[in-house]
Amino acid sequence: MNNRKSEGILAEFENPAELIHAAEKLRDANYNDFDCHSPFPIHGMDRAMGEKRSILGWIVGPVAFIMAIFGFLFEGWTSVIAYPLVISGKPLFSYPAFGVVAFALMILFSAFTSLFGMLALNKLPRYHHPVFYSDNFSKVSDNGFFVSIEATDAKYADDDAKNFLISIGGKNIEFLIDND
């Protein structure tokens, strides 16, 4: 082993059930900066890890509300103030006609916020991460189930973490060390 400090530790588990049990034990052992990696989302994992519900809805909701109002007012402003033009004798402020575009703008910006908000909350794109030091980790998008603990965790110490992961059934344990 070279002298570089490890940036975390990675352990592999057999299947989703084992990964969930591991998550529960890590949560109970008061680890915080750990994550459970799997090829697909596992039902019940949030509770096992002690994760709170995503806050994305609180970001998208206000955006939807603001954009619907903005769309409506914008249509009113262009039709009544900026470019008043009588067409087929209709009133300038034909508010029933403004619903569609206001709705479309609400949906459009909410969707943008959902995608980009999700990426922001996940801190993506991020092309460099300690877990990628492991070659074995490439299985995560195929059939691999992994637990990673980052060295930033307050409780983290190389040997303790290793022993703990062994005790909860982790296999192929490796320290995440930049060896390029």
Partner: protein, 472 residues
């Protein structure tokens, strides 16, 4: 132990003995292997031949557009009074095709229909490509393409703003939003699968490109948590959107005073028709794809049968709308309305009307028979007939109403020119070229989502199998 009055043992038996969605005893890696294999393997010879054919047609599409811009819309068969010809027919047709993709990806997701996972990815891709074709037609229909940007509310030196009271402008926003949201939804679904391809990439260049688009996805649950929420939100946003888009398209017609257009049934009728035609297109593509790439275990006959049921249901809705239109035309006592509908069925466009009725109302009734619902060749033929019928529906609505409106002295018969035909066929070329490129370079089935519906993805599965082997 008993939960909700059922012993846990019973429910576990149910869970295990339920007929699996994905057949052939697949494992996580066999799914990865199967679907990524299509993208990573050698290019099929048939693929080259097909792409050659479709891209030639796409080239014809662009060539015809070039001539259209040079010469003007006079090259089309549009006349006075039929100012809306095939262009608008094609627009409505292509938007409609797109709807099934969103229905599968969004509405079936919200209803927790797990069978959608085998078909949602390429149905979404189909939506995107159909909407691309759809957006082109009204764009080129404006005649002076170089001022098409007038449709967008851009500040300009003329201090001019678009007319937000016009349904045609609503279309710009509705269909534009539809495209953007579908693209985002599709890409969101692709992120974990791009990570799969990235992790399997053999060459450095391939890995780099895929890594860029996979955004550094690590599949950690802290990411999945937000990801799943975003997916849910996008589905929840797409659901009202997809229902609104074709309603807005129908408002192009319904808000005009032309007899045969000016009815309130149009929005639901158009939406049902859109889902009907879209599902037929998904079915056509799915049948070809599963045959060529041997995906029978992932897109099973069970999946196809479920689609035939939706086609039959929406076909009956469309048939009901045709009947109600006739009833209301008679019941309204309006002579112009009554005349329009009698004229549709027995006038100069009767041939188109009866093609529409036979393909959309009569032929899908064959799906009442289980034998036909499970016969792949027959459903393939029916799916194509449905799309022919749905194209004719838009033709009948657009052209027959305009050709014979209020004043007999202004009546005229509409016939397409060679340019109308080349643009329609060309748009199919573009659609299929994009689709072929998609199935060659991107996973056409959602790898992560299909894994998620395998029985072994459920953490309880391991407990149950363990208990079961102990009992035995």
């Amino acid at each position: 132990m008993r939960v909700c009055g059922v012993s846990v043992k019973d429910t576990t038996t149910l869970l295990l003995d339920e007929e699996p969605l994905i057949t052939g005893n697949q494992t996580f890696s066999s799914i990865t292997e199967k679907i990524s294999g299509i993208v990573e393997g050698e290019t099929n010879k048939i693929w080259f031949i097909l792409l050659g054919l479709t891209s030639s047609l796409a080239l014809m599409f662009f060539g015809s557009m070039g001539f259209l811009f040079w010469e003007g819309v006079g090259i089309w068969g549009v006349n006075n009074p039929v100012g809306w010809g095939w262009s608008i027919v094609n627009f409505v047709f292509w938007v409609g095709i797109g709807h099934a993709g969103t229905l599968i990806s969004a509405i079936l997701f919200i209803f927790r229909q797990k069978w959608r996972t085998s078909i949602n990815r390429f149905a979404e891709a189909m939506t995107l490509f159909a909407v691309v074709c759809a957006l082109i037609f009204p764009g080129i229909h404006v005649g002076r393409i170089w001022i098409a940007y007038y449709m967008f509310p851009l500040p300009n030196q003329m201090a001019m703003w678009p007319n937000f009271r016009s349904p045609l402008l609503w279309d710009v926003f509705a269909v534009g939003t539809y495209f953007a949201v579908s693209l985002m939804f599709w890409y969101t679904g692709l992120i974990p699968d791009l990570a799969t391809l990235r992790d399997r990439a053999k060459t450095r260049f391939r890995k780099m490109i895929l890594a860029i688009f996979a955004l550094g996805w690590r599949g950690g649950n802290k990411q999945w948590k937000n990801y799943e929420f975003a997916y849910l939100l996008l589905a929840a946003l797409s659901t009202p959107l997809v229902l609104s888009v074709h309603s807005v398209v129908s408002a192009d017609f319904a808000s005009a005073v032309i007899p045969g257009w000016h009815t309130t049934i149009f929005p639901p009728y158009f939406v049902a028709g859109a889902i009907f035609s879209g599902f037929a297109m998904v079915m056509t593509l799915a049948i070809i794809a599963r045959k060529v790439y041997k995906l029978e275990h992932i897109i099973t006959v069970n999946h196809l049968e479920k689609m035939t049921k939706i086609i039959m249901l929406t076909g009956m809705m469309v048939g009901y709308a045709y009947a109600i239109e006739f009833f209301v035309a008679w019941y309204s006592g309006n002579v112009f309305e009554s005349f329009t509908f009698v004229n549709r069925a027995f006038g100069p466009y009767a041939w188109a009307y009866w093609i529409m009725v036979s393909c959309n109302v009569i032929i899908p009734q064959l799906f009442w028979f289980k034998k036909i619902r499970t016969s792949v060749p027959i459903m393939f033929v029916i799916s194509i007939l449905v799309n022919i019928g749905m194209w004719f529906e838009r033709f009948v609505i657009t052209v027959s109403s305009l050709a014979n409106d209020f004043l007999p002295s202004s009546w005229d018969y509409y016939s397409p020119t060679v340019w109308d035909i080349s643009l329609l066929i060309g748009s199919f070329g573009l659609f299929f070229s994009l689709f072929l490129l998609f199935i060659r370079f991107l996973p056409m089935i959602s790898i992560a989502e299909v894994k998620g519906v395998l029985p072994q993805a459920d953490p309880h599965y391991y407990e149950i199998t363990k208990n079961r082997s102990r009992d035995e």
